[in-house]
C-alpha cells in the first residue's frame, strides 16, 4: 500500500510541476505587456522599462521561469498587480469559501446519488427507477447557473428562510481562523448559531453545483450495480446461502462504488469551474470571483496562482480517490505493487 501511495504521489507531483510550467508559459505568450497594464496608458517608456526591471520581465525567459518555480517552493506566487498584495495572501483569503462550497457539494453528491443509484438498481424497472431516472435527467440537462438563478428566485419569494447571498449573516460576529471553513471552525469555537447560519447559506449554492453530478453518478452507480449483480461470484454467494442483503451491500455495492468514485474525482475539476458561475450568482466570496476579476484585468501572477491552486486541489482530490479505490479494490494496489 505504501509503495502504491508513493508512486501515486510522485506522479501527481510531476503533474503539478508540468501545470506550473505550462501555465507560466501561456501567461507569457498572451499579448499585452504586464508592466504597461500595471502602469496604465499614460506612463512613459522609461517608467515602463523601470517597471519591467522591477518585475523581472527583462530577464531571459528561462530565468524568469526558474525564479518563479523557486518562489513556488516557498509559497511565493509573486505580487498581484490588482491588489498590490502577495497573490498567496489574496488566495488564502478567498480559498476557504470556495473549498467549503465544493466539499459540501461533494458530500451532497455522495449522500444523494449513491443510495439513489442503489435503490434504482434494486427496484429496477419499477416506479422507483423511473423517478430516479427523471431526477437524474433534470440534473444533467439543467445548466448550473440556470438552476442557481431558479433556486435564488425561489428562495427570495417562496422559501424565504434560505439566505440568497453570501456565506454568513452580516449580524453574526465570527471569523474563521483555524481552517477557514465556517462549518468546522464554528464547531471548534462552540458556536451552533454560526454553524446553522453557514449551513443554510451553503445549501442553495451547493445544490445548484451538485445537480449535474448527482444525475451522472446515480446512473453510473445503478448500471454498475446491475452489471455486477449478473456476475458469477454473486450467483455463487447466493448459492452458498449468503443472505441477499449481504450480497447486495457488501459484495456488489463495494465493487459498484469504483466507477462512481472515479467519476467524482474527475467531477471535482468541473466543480471548481462551475463554482465560478454559482459563486457569482450567490455573491459567494470565493476564489472564483477573485479569479474572474484577475483574468479581466490581465493580472497574470494572480491568474497563474488561481490556476495552480485549483490544479493542486484537483490533484489532491484524485489522490484521495486513488487511495479510496486502493482500499475498495485491492487489485489496484496489488497490480502496482506486484512488481515489488
Amino acid at each position: 500500500m505504501f509503495y502504491y501511495l508513493l508512486k501515486r504521489a510522485a506522479s501527481l507531483f510531476l503533474v503539478l510541476v508540468g501545470l506550473a510550467i505550462l501555465i507560466f508559459v501561456i501567461a507569457r505568450i498572451v499579448p499585452g505587456d504586464p508592466a504597461r497594464i500595471a502602469l496604465g496608458p499614460l506612463a512613459s517608456a522609461e517608467q515602463v522599462a523601470q517597471m519591467r526591471e522591477q518585475m523581472g520581465l527583462d530577464l531571459p525567459f528561462h530565468t524568469q521561469l526558474w525564479n518563479y518555480l523557486v518562489g513556488l517552493t516557498h509559497g511565493d506566487f509573486g505580487k498581484s498587480l490588482l491588489t498590490s498584495r502577495p497573490v498567496s495572501a489574496d488566495i488564502m483569503q478567498a480559498l476557504p469559501a470556495t473549498l467549503e462550497l465544493v466539499l459540501f457539494t461533494i458530500v451532497i453528491q455522495i449522500v444523494l446519488s449513491i443510495p439513489l443509484g442503489v435503490l434504482a438498481a434494486i427496484y429496477r424497472d419499477t416506479w422507483v427507477d423511473n423517478v430516479s431516472r427523471i431526477i437524474s435527467l433534470i440534473g444533467v440537462v439543467t445548466p448550473g447557473f440556470v438552476l442557481a438563478i431558479i433556486l435564488q428566485l425561489m428562495a427570495s419569494y417562496v422559501f424565504t428562510f434560505f439566505p440568497v447571498t453570501g456565506r454568513l449573516d452580516g449580524g453574526l460576529d465570527f471569523s474563521a481562523d483555524v481552517t477557514g471553513l465556517l462549518l468546522i471552525d464554528s464547531i471548534l469555537a462552540g458556536r451552533p448559531d454560526v454553524f446553522g447560519d453557514a449551513f443554510m447559506h451553503l445549501i442553495l449554492p451547493a445544490t445548484a453545483l451538485a445537480a449535474a453530478g448527482i444525475g451522472q453518478v446515480m446512473r453510473i452507480t445503478r448500471s454498475s450495480m446491475i452489471e455486477l449483480s449478473g456476475r458469477d461470484f454473486v450467483e455463487a454467494s447466493r448459492a452458498y446461502g449468503v443472505p441477499e442483503r449481504v450480497v447486495t451491500f457488501k459484495y456488489i455495492l463495494r465493487l459498484a462504488c469504483v466507477a462512481p468514485l472515479t467519476i467524482l474525482g474527475l467531477e471535482f475539476a468541473s466543480l471548481i469551474g462551475n463554482a465560478f458561475i454559482v459563486e457569482f450568482v450567490f455573491s459567494w466570496p470565493g476564489i472564483a470571483s477573485y479569479g474572474v476579476r484577475t483574468i479581466l484585468q490581465k493580472d497574470l501572477n494572480a491568474v497563474i496562482g488561481v490556476v495552480l491552486v485549483s490544479g493542486l486541489f484537483f490533484v489532491i482530490a484524485n489522490l484521495v480517490i486513488d487511495i479510496l479505490l486502493g482500499i475498495l479494490d485491492p487489485r489496484h494496489r496489488l497490480r502496482e505493487g506486484a512488481s515489488k
Binding site: A236, S237, A239, Y240, G241, L255, A338, S339
Partner: protein, 569 residues
C-alpha cells in the same frame, strides 16, 4: 427390498421465460433422479437448458423473467418449490451446493479468500443458531481447505483470488462449496476453464471427495470425456427435453437417441479405428522455416518502470512447415504457443533467430502488403474478433480495401467469399449478433481468406464452439485447404482435435519445443514425459482409448507438471 428416498427427484419440470412480452418454453417435462452417493451427469450443448435446470435446483433462477409452469423438485422427499424462502435459503450451500464453471469469476475479486469463506460459514451459523467463534470458524475453513489438498490454509485465506493459480482457485472453490457440508454437489463444467493436466487433478479430487465425504454429484457438462470419468448415470438433454437416460455403460456403449449418437460421434477420438490420419498431398516445399527463434519479454515495474526481470516466452525453437501442412502447435497456457504464433504473424519481432517464408526473411517482409497477403489469422472467439457494429459485408471489405480492390470488385468478392464458407449471399447485410457462433467463425475464416493468403494461422478456432458445430468448421477448413492449396498453422490445447486435424505436430513446454513429428507417430509413441502426461490427461469416451493412452508413473508426472496444490512464489 429397501426403498430409499432419492436425494434429488425432479418430476415433469416445465419452465418458461418471458422477455419483452414474448414467452418461450425452455424446459419440457424434465424428470431426473439422483440417489444418495450417486454421480449423475447432465449432458447437453449450450442452449440445451442444462444451466436453467441447475439454477432451478439451487434456487438462483431469476423469477421473473423465468416462471415455473409445473412440476416438482424434491430434495430428500421435501418439495423445494413450495418451501418458504427461509427454509429454501437454509438449504443453499448446506443441502445443495454448487461449483460454478469459471473459478476466477466465481470469487469476489475485492475480498480475501478467507473473508469470503468466513461469510459463508458465518451466515450458515446464524441461520442454524450455531455460535462458533471466529477462531473455530477459521479452523473449520482450514480443515475444509485441507480436504481439497491445500495445506497452506492460513496463507490462502489471506490471499486475494487473483493471487492464486487457476488450479488452486478451482480447489478453493470446491472447498467453498463444501464448507457447510452439503449432501448434493452440483458441478458445472468442472475444470474446463483449466489446462487439461490440471483438469485431470481436479476430476480426481472430485471423485475422491464424493467417495470419502458421502456426497452425491450432479455433473453438468458437454464434455463426454469428463462424463466417462465422473458419472455413474447420465441424462442427455436437447432443447429442454431429456432425450436419453441410462447408466454410463448403457448410454456410452450403445447410445439410442440420434442426438446422443451424433454427440458421441462428434467427439474427436484420441486412439482407435475412428481416428482420422491426415496427410499432406501437396508439393512439400518448405514454406515456413523457423530457425532458432527466441522471444524474451522484459517485465517492468517499480517507481520508474525500470526493467525488473525478464520472461523467456519462447526459447530456441526451430521448425519447418511445408506447403500444404496442417501444422499443430500444442501446449497449455503459458507454454509460449501464442507468442510463437504472434511472431509468425509479424506482430512480435523475435529477440533472436529468424523466420523465413519461402526463403525470404520476416525482417524484410514485416509490414509489407505482400506479407499481409501471405499470412492471415483466424482468432479463437468470433464473438469478439468481429466488430458487432458493422455488417458482414463491411467487415469482409476491410482487408480487400487495403489490398487494392475497388468498390465494384469488393462486392463481387464478398459474395464469392460467403459462398466459399457455405454462407448464403444475403448474410452480407447482416450483423454478427444475428449469426450463430459457427456462422460467425465462418465469417472470420472468410475474412482471413479475403486477400488470398497462402498461410492461415488458426488460433484455437473451434474452442468457443459446441462440439457438433466444431466438426462442421473443421470440415470446412479441410475443404478450403484442398481447394485453395493452403497451409495451416493450428494452435490449440485440444490434443484430441489435433490428432484428427493435423499432419504434423509440435508440443510446446515452458517456451521450448519438447516434441516434434508426424501426428501419428507422436501419439503412437510420445518421447517426452510432458507429451505423455498431456496425452494421458485427456478425458476420452471409451475404455479402448483409455487403455491406449501412454502410462506414466506418479513420479514421471510430477517431474513435468507443477501441481496446483502449493502456493507459488
Amino acid at each position: 427390498m429397501m426403498t430409499t428416498t432419492p436425494i434429488l427427484d425432479i418430476d415433469k419440470l416445465n419452465i418458461s421465460f418471458s422477455t419483452y412480452g414474448h414467452k418461450s418454453h425452455t424446459l419440457f417435462d424434465v424428470s431426473m433422479t439422483i440417489n444418495e452417493g450417486e454421480r449423475v451427469a447432465l449432458i447437453g450443448q449450450s442452449g440445451s437448458g442444462k444451466t436453467v435446470t441447475m439454477r432451478t435446483i439451487i434456487g438462483t433462477l431469476p423469477m421473473p423473467p423465468a416462471t415455473i409452469e409445473s412440476g416438482s423438485i424434491k430434495y430428500k422427499g421435501k418439495e423445494l418449490l413450495s418451501l418458504s424462502k427461509r427454509e429454501r435459503d437454509g438449504l443453499k450451500g448446506a443441502g445443495i451446493s454448487i461449483i460454478l464453471q469459471d473459478p476466477l469469476l466465481s470469487f469476489n475479486p475485492v475480498l480475501t479468500i478467507g473473508k469470503q469463506m468466513d461469510d459463508i460459514v458465518r451466515f450458515a451459523d446464524i441461520r442454524y443458531g450455531q455460535n462458533r467463534s471466529a477462531d473455530a470458524r477459521k479452523k473449520h475453513i482450514i480443515e475444509t481447505l485441507a480436504k481439497v489438498q491445500l495445506a497452506d490454509g492460513a496463507q490462502i485465506m489471506g490471499s486475494y483470488p487473483m493471487m492464486l493459480s487457476g488450479g488452486m482457485r478451482q480447489r478453493v472453490l470446491i472447498a467453498m462449496a463444501l464448507l457447510n457440508k452439503p449432501k448434493l454437489l452440483i458441478a458445472d463444467e468442472p475444470g474446463t476453464a483449466l489446462d487439461v493436466t490440471t483438469q485431470q487433478e481436479i476430476l480426481d479430487l472430485l471423485n475422491a471427495l464424493v467417495r470419502d465425504e458421502g456426497l452425491s454429484l450432479l455433473l453438468i457438462t458437454h464434455n463426454l470425456g469428463v462424463v466417462r470419468e465422473m458419472a455413474d448415470r447420465v441424462y442427455v438433454m436437447e432443447r429442454g427435453h431429456i432425450v436419453e437416460t441410462g447408466t454410463l455403460e448403457e448410454v456410452f456403449s450403445a447410445p439410442k437417441h440420434p442426438y446422443t449418437i451424433k454427440l458421441m460421434e462428434a467427439v474427436p477420438p484420441l486412439y482407435g479405428s475412428r481416428v482420422r490420419d491426415i496427410e499432406n498431398k501437396a508439393d512439400k516445399n518448405t514454406e515456413i522455416k523457423i530457425s532458432n527463434i527466441s522471444k524474451t519479454f522484459v517485465r517492468r515495474g517499480g517507481l520508474l518502470n525500470r526493467p525488473i526481470g525478464e520472461v523467456q516466452a519462447v526459447k530456441n525453437v526451430s521448425l519447418e512447415i511445408n506447403r500444404g501442412d496442417i501444422f499443430g502447435i500444442a501446449g497449455e497456457s503459458g507454454s509460449g504457443k501464442t507468442t510463437l504464433a504472434k511472431m509468425l504473424l509479424g506482430l512480435y519481432g523475435p529477440t533472436s533467430g529468424d523466420i523465413q517464408f519461402n526463403g525470404k526473411s520476416l525482417n524484410e517482409l514485416r509490414g509489407t502488403v505482400e506479407f499481409r497477403k501471405l499470412v492471415q489469422i483466424v482468432y479463437q472467439n468470433p464473438g469478439s474478433s468481429l466488430n458487432p457494429k458493422r455488417t458482414i459485408a463491411d467487415q469482409l471489405a476491410v482487408p480487400l480495401h487495403f489490398t487494392g480492390y475497388d468498390k465494384a470488385q469488393i462486392k463481387g468478392r464478398v459474395a464469392q467469399l460467403l459462398d466459399m464458407v457455405d454462407l448464403p449471399a444475403h448474410y452480407a447485410s447482416m450483423y454478427p449478433h444475428e449469426l450463430s457462433g459457427g456462422q460467425k467463425q465462418r465469417v472470420a475464416i472468410a475474412r482471413a481468406l479475403s486477400v488470398e493468403p497462402e498461410i492461415l494461422v488458426l488460433d484455437e478456432p473451434t474452442s468457443a464452439l459446441d462440439v457438433l458445430v466444431q466438426n462442421t468448421v473443421i470440415e470446412l477448413l479441410h475443404r478450403l485447404r484442398e481447394e485453395l492449396n493452403l497451409t495451416y498453422v493450428f494452435i490449440s490445447h485440444d490434443l484430441s482435435l489435433m490428432r484428427n486435424f493435423c499432419n504434423k505436430i509440435a508440443v510446446m513446454f515452458r517456451g521450448e519445443m519438447c516434441e516434434l513429428g508426424a501426428t501419428k507417430d507422436v501419439f503412437a509413441n510420445p518421447q517426452h514425459n510432458y507429451t505423455q502426461a498431456l496425452i494421458s490427461s485427456i478425458p476420452v469416451i471409451s475404455a479402448e482409448e483409455e487403455n491406449l493412452k501412454p502410462k506414466l508413473t506418479k513420479q514421471e508426472r510430477a517431474a513435468v507438471l507443477a501441481t496446483s496444490t502449493a502456493l507459488g512464489k
